[in-house]
């Protein structure tokens, strides 16, 4: 028996006979991870930009901390968010455990540090190049920060995409806080985990191939945009 061969056949069948259930799982994966990336970007980008252009006490510590947080284990994040959102926890009254919102929160916690840390690096490099010119033109920190974000937008897009890749591919956190409820919180990765535990390895791997293809297509898309943009805007 050839599991890999079967997996590719299963993946092909999944894609070819794109059934409603699969569509829903893929759709929810995208909805949760895209939302988490948007929120994490809204938090991480301004944070990264601020750290890049401001000088304050404890800045170096904060950078070290952010860089360390990039490697947060998803299971730990899941557990923390679970304990927060559990009825017995501090945010229990929201009643959003085992909902997509809980998954969005967990993924946001997971990737906001990644986006903050990487954009800090990118924006700080740009700041080194731009600082004198922007100060000469009389830009205040806020304006300078916005200008840097705008000018590094294509690099930042890659960073945001890295965040998305991490969010959409992680299973530990969403499994714990989402509960892998059929039709409600079941996403691609938790489906893969479930099918693996059912011993249906070809189907699990087939889904994995669908997931990887999706991420590859997205990355290719951004690479093309970036390439075109660099040629256009220099």
């Amino acid at each position: 028996m050839n599991s890999l061969g079967e997996a590719f056949i299963a993946a092909w069948q999944l894609l070819a006979g794109f059934d409603a259930e699969l569509a829903q799982v893929v759709g929810l994966s995208l909805q949760v991870s895209i939302t988490a990336v948007l929120i994490a970007t809204l938090i991480g980008l301004p944070l990264g930009a601020t750290i890049a252009v401001e000088r304050f006490r404890g800045r170096q510590m904060l950078i070290v901390l952010l860089n360390a947080l990039m490697g947060l284990p998803p299971v730990v994040v899941g557990l923390l968010v679970y304990l927060l959102l559990s009825r017995a926890g501090p945010l229990g009254s929201l009643g959003i455990l085992f909902t997509p919102q809980a998954m969005i929160i967990a993924q946001t916690v997971l990737i906001a540090p990644i986006i903050a840390a990487l954009s800090r690096q990118t924006i700080e490099d740009a700041w080194r190049e731009y600082e004198e010119q922007l100060r000469s033109l009389g830009a205040r920190r806020l304006t300078a920060g916005m200008t840097l974000i705008w000018d590094t937008r294509f690099s930042l897009l890659t960073i945001v995409l890295a965040g998305f890749g991490r969010a959409v591919a992680e299973v530990g956190a969403v499994m714990i806080v989402g509960g892998n409820i059929d039709g409600v919180t079941r996403v691609m990765t938790t489906t893969i985990a479930l099918e693996t535990s059912k011993g249906d390895l070809p189907l699990a791997l087939g889904l994995g191939i669908v997931l990887i293809s999706l991420v590859v297509v997205l990355n290719a898309l951004v690479a093309v945009i970036r390439e075109a943009a660099l040629r256009r805007y220099g």
């Binding site: 909805q31 017995a88 929201l94 959003i96 059912k198």
Partner: protein, 274 residues
Amino acid sequence: MAIVRGVVLALTLLGVLQGPAAWAQQKSIVVASTTSTENSGLFKHILPIFKTKTGIDVRVVAQGTGQALDTGKRGDADVVFVHDKVKELALVKEGAFVNRNDVMYNDFVVVGPKSDPAKIVGSKDVTAALKAISAAKAPFASRGDKSGTHAAELRLWQAAGVDVASGKGGWYRETGSGMGATLNTASGMNAYALTDRGTWLSFKNRGDLTIVVEGDKRLFNQYGVMLVNPARHSHVKKELGQSFIDWLVSADGQKSIANYKIGGEQLFFPNAGR
């Protein structure tokens, strides 16, 4: 400004800003249950029937029995549907749950490699078989995750008079994971394992494994359902939860359970109120 407006629009489209209210409006309950019932496909069979009858959407969170009981205790589910009768009754007594009912049973089987190093194929005496496995130091894969199956397995070892602690790291291997994952492990290293029949029947990656011991009365596996105590957790949807419990033990619910078959084989045997 255009950026901010774009983000708000995107979030709205993605349904984030609807908030939890939108979820609460639907008639739904959360049931903490076990991986074995979920993996066997039983819920996929019975829940649509229940939904048609009552309009209630049942959201199953499949965990190990130990974790499912904890989820219920914390108030994160409305109903738990698990298989560790001893522990269930203890928790009812303690006040964490109310209205416990027997629902159904299935049975455990011992699976093992066709080469059968412990020479136990066809045995109907599970404790003798376990003794033989330990005597032969044949590899055995245990859940090791405090699940209902794990608890049942430990009771059987005890009945067989085998101290598995001495085999840890050697022939006795704890996977610390769900039933399916443990079967994957057993299949990978040609080990014996105790599994519920439902998971086994729907398990596809069997490799060289086959059923070696079945039919012993001590291998019966009782499932029970109970409501999270609404006196402890006021948000518990007790009417909706109770109607699910009532349906499971009703003639209609029991018949639906009996009707679930894989390859012509019945997986669960309803025994509510008996």
